[in-house]
């Protein structure tokens, strides 16, 4: 177990790689990281202190209500963990790293898998464990010992969730293939995350009375099911309350499911891994007759950017899924219009939100088209000026963003007033243009695979970018609300930040 090739040997290797990757991700920014982590520890410690103090005064009575609430929270956590684990499992096969080396070694497959999946479980549960640890470190000092069983129960929940994710991954690999599994896992993960956000936002837009009634109905329906002390469903919650042998049973269930899932997954693992490594292999396509080509720098650059986007469903889903977060807003906008209850102020709020939406969309696209160039040397060696390339690439980001903006603009012009539509168009277009210009002035080169880390860069740049966007959002809102003169102030602020960002752009090497 401890010797070369043993489980702990492999685990140490895995942890070393994780640690090195973590350290490399913040290279050259030690001071900022130290400040950030110090603040985080202080905030967590402070919050944990008060939470522990409060909990210590509450007797952990495993009533139906308490079990129901705990079970509900665990169910939410479990779904979040499953979605995260599903993504990590598929990623672990794609971002192979040393997988080929390990698979070609004489180390048994199950050992490699146990370690890799344990690392995933740790990764999945780490965030929640840190949160709970902030509370648990204080609990003994307030005499809240009886709440301590929550920690192992939560840890076991991460193992159980990883096991479920493994089973799901195995089924999805078999049903829809490894490539689609990755995309579906990505979409599912985002949908689960978004679902909680959307569900939490909907009550904000409903009347107090109906909101309270809806909450009561949901509560009454869920609590008796997940809070039934005789039911298997309440086992994790009962374990969290430290009831009898429940923690041991829950431990056996979680650990057993994890081991079983790993064993079941291992039976196909080598084949799935091989299938994924061969994903890039050539597929038989219908060979078409030689066809014409496009001419011109702009046309070919834009066509290339759009092709690359269209052919990367994973990336496309990452860009489009955040739009889901605006779904409640669209729903409420529709219902208000239907009821004839759209005031000038609420129209302004909606207009601002739409501008925020297109700005965020344009920022994602602009990073992909301008910064995430797979062949920068090729572009740099072409007889085309940098400005010409930047303009074409910005257009590749701006055009879809404007297309996204147009339906709400037309909707506002018809349903609110033509002027409201015009102000939205001006505000949205200004925000898109600013976003694309900033993307060309302050390029943060990276691979398309690093999409999630696109906002890395200087704090001042990110602040400047945010202020520009907020300025246009506020200006649009004010103009749509009927105060176009007042909108000049945030517009000027945006313009000022744009000027500052233009002046602070780094010099070009070539």
């Amino acid at each position: 177990m401890f010797g070369p090739g043993g489980v702990l040997f492999l685990l140490r290797h895995e942890m070393l790689l994780t640690w090195r990757a973590f350290r490399a991700s913040g290279k050259g920014r030690h001071v900022r990281r130290i400040i950030f982590y110090s603040i985080m520890i202080a905030v967590l410690g402070f919050g944990g202190y008060w939470a522990a103090r409060f909990l210590s005064e509450v007797e952990p009575k495993p009533s139906v209500l308490m079990l129901g609430i705990t079970g509900g929270v665990f169910a939410i956590l479990c779904s979040l963990m499953i979605s995260q684990a599903l993504m990590l499992i598929t990623e672990s096969l794609y971002q192979r790293g040393d997988l080929d080396l390990l698979l070609s070694s004489p180390v048994p497959l199950w050992r490699v898998l146990i370690v890799r999946m344990s690392a995933i479980a740790i990764n999945v549960g780490l965030f929640y464990l840190i949160l709970t640890a902030a509370v648990f470190v204080w609990l003994p000092s307030f005499g809240g010992w009886r709440w301590m069983a929550f920690a192992p129960s939560l840890l076991l929940l991460t193992l159980f969730s990883t096991a479920v994710a493994l089973v799901l991954a195995r089924l999805m690999f078999a049903l829809i293939g490894p490539k689609n599994t990755r995309i579906v896992a990505q979409i599912l993960g985002s949908l689960i995350g978004a679902a909680f956000f959307i569900a939490s936002q909907i009550p904000r837009f409903t009347e107090d009375e109906s909101r309270a009634q809806a909450m009561r109905d949901v509560f009454d329906a869920i609590v008796p099911v997940v809070g039934d002390p005789a039911s298997i469903v309440s086992l994790p919650a009962r374990a969290a309350f430290g009831l009898g042998f429940d923690i041991w049973i829950w431990g056996l269930v979680a650990l057993g499911s994890f081991m079983l899932a790993v064993w079941w997954y291992a039976s196909r693992f080598a084949r799935d891994a091989a299938a994924i490594s061969g994903l890039g292999s050539r597929r038989k396509r219908n060979v078409r007759a030689a066809r014409g080509m496009r001419s011109g720098v702009n046309a070919t650059l834009i066509a290339k950017e759009w092709r690359l986007l269209r052919r990367d469903p994973l990336l496309l889903s990452q860009i489009l899924l955040p739009l889901l977060y605006f779904a409640p807003l669209f729903a409420v906008f529709g219902s208000r219009v239907g009821e004839g209850d759209l005031t000038r102020i609420s129209a302004a709020g909606f207009a601002s939100a739409f501008v925020l939406l297109v700005t965020s969309f344009a920022a994602s696209l602009a990073w992909l088209t301008v910064s995430a160039e797979d062949a920068p040397d090729l572009i740099a060696s072409a007889p085309v000026s940098r400005d010409q390339v930047d303009v074409a690439k910005s257009m590749a980001a701006a055009v879809p963003s404007v297309m996204l903006l147009l339906p709400p603009v037309i909707g506002a012009a018809i349903l609110v007033t033509p002027m409201a539509g015009m102000w939205m168009l001006i505000g949205g277009a200004a925000a898109i243009l600013s976003t694309c210009l900033i993307a060309t002035w302050h390029q943060t080169p990276g691979s398309r695979k690093e999409f999630r880390r696109r906002t890395r860069g200087s704090l001042m740049l990110n602040l400047g970018r945010s202020f520009v966007a907020m300025g246009w959002i506020a200006a649009t809102g004010l103009a749509v609300a009927g105060w176009p003169l007042a909108a000049i102030i945030p517009a000027i602020i945006s313009g000022g930040f744009m000027l500052a960002l233009h002046e602070s752009r780094p010099p070009r090497e070539v």
Partner: protein, 245 residues
């Protein structure tokens, strides 16, 4: 006659390290020139400066008379650059890649399409033209990149280690293509570690170390410097490089 490439006193430093040290280099039109040197000798840095990917600290570069520093666009129009790692887009097909390159170099579509067909057929990629390059082997990727470099019919083709990682058949195809290119009046400059390649295909060979040109000439001229007609290029190279070290 104007040289294809004329480099004078070209210098590039990275911090304290001088990668290219007052280099003078002339490549004639219609010549296949091989630039040899150990790792870190300054071969790639030199070519990257010619291509406009790196800014020289001092010196001049002229491509067919065009000043590559003052007017890089004019120089780039006549150049093609093939790096050791082919710069392809995984999600584009071979045909779309060539379409993109042709667009960047401003080649009219009516000229580009038949040229792409001719190149893909010559390189044995015609049946793969509608496949995304992500599934291509190393050799196929290299050949696609080579087709991209030739689609705009460059007057000067520069290749950095073009045969690395290629199997014998593909390497032979690439060598034939380069020789054919030189025979038809195009100029080719390539860097390589493989002395045999330089010996077989190059009209002239330059040996560079520490950013300086140690020697250049035809194989016979270099042999003469090494003191024997029977000396191989390897003998000449090792003698020069170890002498300069």
């Amino acid at each position: 006659m104007t040289n294809a490439l004329s480099v004078r006193a070209l210098t590039k430093k990275f911090g304290e390290k001088t990668a290219v040290d007052a280099l003078d280099l002339d490549i004639r039109a219609g010549e296949l020139y091989a630039l040899l040197g150990p790792n870190g000798a300054g071969k790639t840095t030199t070519l990257r400066m010619v291509t406009g990917l790196l800014k020289p600290d001092s010196g001049t570069i002229h491509v067919f008379g065009a000043d590559a520093i003052a007017d890089p666009i004019a120089a780039k129009r006549m150049l093609a650059w093939l790096p050791d790692e082919p710069a392809l887009y995984d999600k584009l097909t071979a045909w779309e890649y060539l379409e993109f390159i042709a667009g960047l170099w401003g080649v009219d579509a009516k000229t580009a399409a038949p040229r792409a067909e001719e190149l893909l057929k010559f390189l044995g990629l015609w049946d793969n033209r509608d496949e995304r390059t992500e599934g291509f082997s190393r050799g196929m990727k290299q050949k696609t990149a080579l087709a991209g470099a030739l689609i705009h019919d460059p007057k000067l083709l520069m290749l950095d280690e073009p045969l690395t990682g290629l199997d014998a058949a593909v390497a032979r195809q690439v060598k034939d293509l380069l020789q054919e290119r030189a025979r038809s009046g195009g100029s080719v400059i390539l860097t390589t570690h493989i002395l045999d390649v330089a010996e077989r295909v190059a009209d002239r060979i330059g040996i560079i170390q520490g950013g300086k040109l140690l020697a250049e000439g035809t194989l016979a001229e270099l042999r003469g410097r090494a003191g024997g007609a029977s000396a191989t290029l390897e003998d000449v190279y090792l003698q020069l490089v170890s002498g300069a070290a």
